[in-house]
Amino acid sequence: MTAIPAIREIPARGRNTYDPAVVRADFPILSRTVYNKPLRFLDNGASAQKPQSVLDALQNSYASEYANVHRGAHFLSGAATEAYEGVREKAAGLLNAPGPDNIVFTKNVTESINLVACSWADAHLSAGDEIVITEMEHHANIVPWQLLRDRKGIVLKIAPVEDDGSFVLERFAALLTEGTKLVSVTHVSNVLGTAVPVAEVTRLAKDAGACVLIDGAQGVVHQPVDVQAIGCDFYAFTGHKLYGPTGVGILYGRTDRLAEMPPWQGGGDMIDTVSFEKTVYADPPMRFEAGTPPFVQAIGLGAAIDYVQALGMDAIGAHEHALCAHAMETLRDVPGVRPVGEAPDKAAIVSFVVDGLHSLDVGAILDRQGVAVRVGHHCAQPLMARMGIESTVRASMALYNTTEEIDALAAGIRHAQKLLG
């Protein structure tokens, strides 16, 4: 028997009582158990779970509206194309971008950053030009610039983070020179939770004449984002961390920046006309989308954007902020637990180490309690080196997490201490 998806009531925007119990019911996976224990999913920074509306959108796309986009002269192709292109508008709405043409589909934030590195930066930077990143970048915002450095001889400068994980604007500003051509910073650190003041960073970078790219992988999920208010040139994020499917990411680009960028991959969809003598490229955003795009995934992402917009990013942010405060307070009460990342301005990502215990052991014992966390270097090895640690345990919260889950985390840590003591 095929289950007919119920018509789901979308929560009213801006309602003033945020009830995680109600929200949780939208996420089928959250009702499962692991090792006969209720699942407490606190690994959202790696990837978030999907609400039923996203699953329905994927199902509907394949079951009722499937055909390749931008190609067929037939009903289904038209329907798929319309749904897919409609997601550009939703993404533009989420980021307050001027319009859908500012939205490029990619496969994830990593690809978005590589796109800027291989297209914009490759065309506009030359030997000796400087790129500023921070000590707390994910490898995705380090390695593309190192590849560029090896290709073009650019200089990579690293803005420091403080011992408590905070980001000091003055220390960043001190690195800016006439040679600074690009500032590429994370919006929120995936390890420390530190929220970088991206509007101020952008203003300082602009004063120095630099272009600004923001890695919004952990930013867009925790708070409202307004790219025009920030003033950045590029803003990148990944669908799967925003309750959407894997395989689709977004690059927002300012109109003038996108216009000055050469293609980076060639193929179908990114051209106007092709002859063996000369090919004319399509305008942005299509210029950067060679080949059949992940349009089903994009449609799923559209449903995810609808979902978070309906709840309200402000409401989600407030809920997570309260959870984060509760987590910090609860963990500080566990003897031997040392938080890593205590910046005053912090999103709901809590890293910590436990004295005398290896993160892997803590993670494995938490796992047995049904508490899913991530352990390791979190794709930020330079930051680990900076903090003088090998790894952390990381609890990263999402819109559906509860204080009870945080308490289970703390109880799990105490249990680990007992077992391994």
Binding site: Y35, H358, S359, L360, A364, R368, V375, G376, L419
Partner: protein, 140 residues
């Protein structure tokens, strides 16, 4: 070949439920505290690469038989390393070469995640390499 230590481990694991296997593994790690791993051997030369935690393995040969001992900074991994090195110490090169994924699977039994099964396979390959029991592959 004498796999009696291995059989002991495998049979004990088989008799335990999931939760108890996990605690058994931690107990093995705790027992090993009484046989400390030489500090000076915790160096790059004895490090096994590609693990979530650091693993060091020492190898020795006596009467054409290979002996291993290992250490990890994570207790769970230390327990796994101990099962592996205890199980497959005392074998000849030819015998070691016959140890396969199926042997390793019995020391794993679903109590542990797939990731750790991959880690244990890597450990087997590593000790086989150290013993020259993987033809054509030299230990790094």
């Amino acid at each position: 070949m004498d796999l009696s230590v291995y059989e002991d481990y495998a049979e004990t694991l088989e008799a335990l439920d999931d939760e108890m296997r996990f605690e058994y593994l931690l107990d093995i790690a705790k027992k090993k505290r009484s046989e400390p791993f030489p500090e000076e051997a915790m160096d790059d030369a004895h490090l096994m690469h590609g693990c979530m935690s650091r693993v060091w393995i020492l190898h020795d040969v006596a009467d054409d038989r290979h002996y291993f001992c290992g250490h990890s900074d994570a207790a769970i991994v230390k327990g796994l390393v101990a099962m592996m090195t205890d199980s497959f110490s005392g074998l000849t090169t030819a015998e070691l070469a016959q140890i396969t994924l199926d042997h390793v699977r019995r020391l794993n039994l679903g109590a542990l995640t797939t990731q750790r099964q991959v880690g244990m396979m890597a450990m087997l390959k590593h000790i086989q390499k150290l013993a020259g029991a993987r033809p054509g592959i030299q230990a790094a």
